[in-house]
């Protein structure tokens, strides 16, 4: 028994040492998750993950970029970046009609969105080793979805970094996000402009390395 357990332990530690950590990018729709995922992927691998859009629920399937090697202070950490659909408790296809979409397309978009969110919730319970929680810092962070998701992440004991995105915009308020989640570290950034990405990479290496 002892020997088998020992072997099993050493095999699993071998794998966990080699397997890159799977880092999920979570947050509400339109927060800038894909913009951040693309920036990370472009900075370290040269290509992007998926399309970005001002229309909510642009990402409707979790997408993964494997083996993203981030170099920090002479060391390197390798992670799999998973961009997930924005989490919500409701999807109303008629809201997409306001974005000049035909009814068929809007209905399809909402169906894909709901499937994607269900999948993202499942992944969060099963398949994620750490979370980058992205928020639009021009918006109120005290929402039920944010409260629930951060609670779910905490209950799984996953390391999490809160990212206050869109600091380039006029109404950005990073303090409000810090106040909403005082138990976690909040980093300001603009995924679009690339502001403060060095600090973001430092912290990614520190938290998930």
């Amino acid at each position: 028994m002892g020997l088998i357990t020992d072997i099993r332990d050493s095999i699993s530690s071998l794998f966990s040492a080699q397997d890159p950590k799977r880092i999920g990018i979570y947050g509400p729709p339109n927060a800038g998750k894909t913009t951040l995922a693309n920036r990370i992927a472009r900075d370290w691998t040269g290509d992007a993950i998926g399309p970005e859009s001002h229309i909510p629920h642009e990402t409707r399937r979790a997408r993964r970029k494997e083996n993203v090697e981030i170099e920090r202070n002479g060391k390197s950490v390798t992670i799999d970046v998973v961009d997930t659909p924005g989490v919500t408790t409701k999807v109303d296809y008629t809201e997409f009609l306001e974005h000049d979409m035909e009814k068929d397309d809007a209905v399809r978009r909402s169906r894909e969105a709901t499937e994607g969110v269900a999948e993202a919730m499942h992944w969060l319970r099963e398949d994620v080793d750490g979370v980058l929680y992205v928020l639009d810092s021009t918006e109120d962070p005290f929402t039920q979805v944010n409260t629930m998701l951060v609670g779910i992440i905490e209950s799984q004991d996953l390391p999490v970094l809160i990212l206050a995105n869109k600091t380039d915009l006029e109404g950005s308020n990073v303090r409000r996000i810090e106040n909403a989640f005082p138990q976690h570290e909040t980093l300001p950034l603009s995924a679009l402009e690339g502001d403060n990405m060095d600090e973001v990479y430092d912290k990614i290496a520190e938290y998930f390395g």
């Binding site: 989490v87 919500t88 408790t89 409701k90 999807v91 109303d92 296809y93 209905v107 909402s110 169906r111 709901t114 499937e115 969110v117 269900a118 919730m121 499942h122 969060l124 319970r125 005290f142 039920q144 944010n146 409260t147 629930m148 951060v150 609670g151 779910i152 905490e154 209950s155 799984q156 909403a180 989640f181 005082p182 138990q183």
Partner: protein, 128 residues
């Protein structure tokens, strides 16, 4: 809800579920009960709320049941907000169970949160 007559069409039914009743249910039974109530157009109020794992499953199952023109999903509010304060450790030391939070759940197209802060939730409920 079992063995309960449906409310009249011109009213809004509110189901207040005690912690005691929830205690004997499995996670999926709780989620089924909540969503069955919400599908009927009811407002479901849980005295003691759900665990984070149950909340995650509630979102997942809600998503699979959304159907255009029929069901848009849920609106959910908890009180007090679990993530907004740093009282987690203190609460645990004091033996308070973090899941014991009043939770209000309703159909997204019928319930709208008007105002919410640490001491008050104000919601507007409309008929079907």
């Amino acid at each position: 809800m079992p063995e309960v007559k449906k409310a009249d069409d011109d009213g809004v039914q509110i189901d207040l579920i005690s912690g005691e009743r929830m205690e004997s249910m499995t996670s999926m039974e709780k989620i089924r009960m909540i969503l069955d109530g919400v599908h009927e157009g009811n407002i479901v109020i849980l005295e003691e709320g759900l665990s984070p794992d149950e909340e995650s499953r509630l979102i997942e199952v809600t998503m699979t049941e959304i159907s255009p023109d029929e069901f848009n999903g849920i609106e959910i509010e908890t009180y007090p907000q679990s993530g907004s304060t740093d009282s987690g450790l203190l609460n645990r030391l004091m033996g308070n169970d973090e899941t014991k939070k009043l939770t209000v759940i309703g159909p997204a197209n019928q319930i709208k949160t008007l105002h919410k802060d640490e001491t008050l939730i104000s919601a507007l409920v409309s008929r079907k």
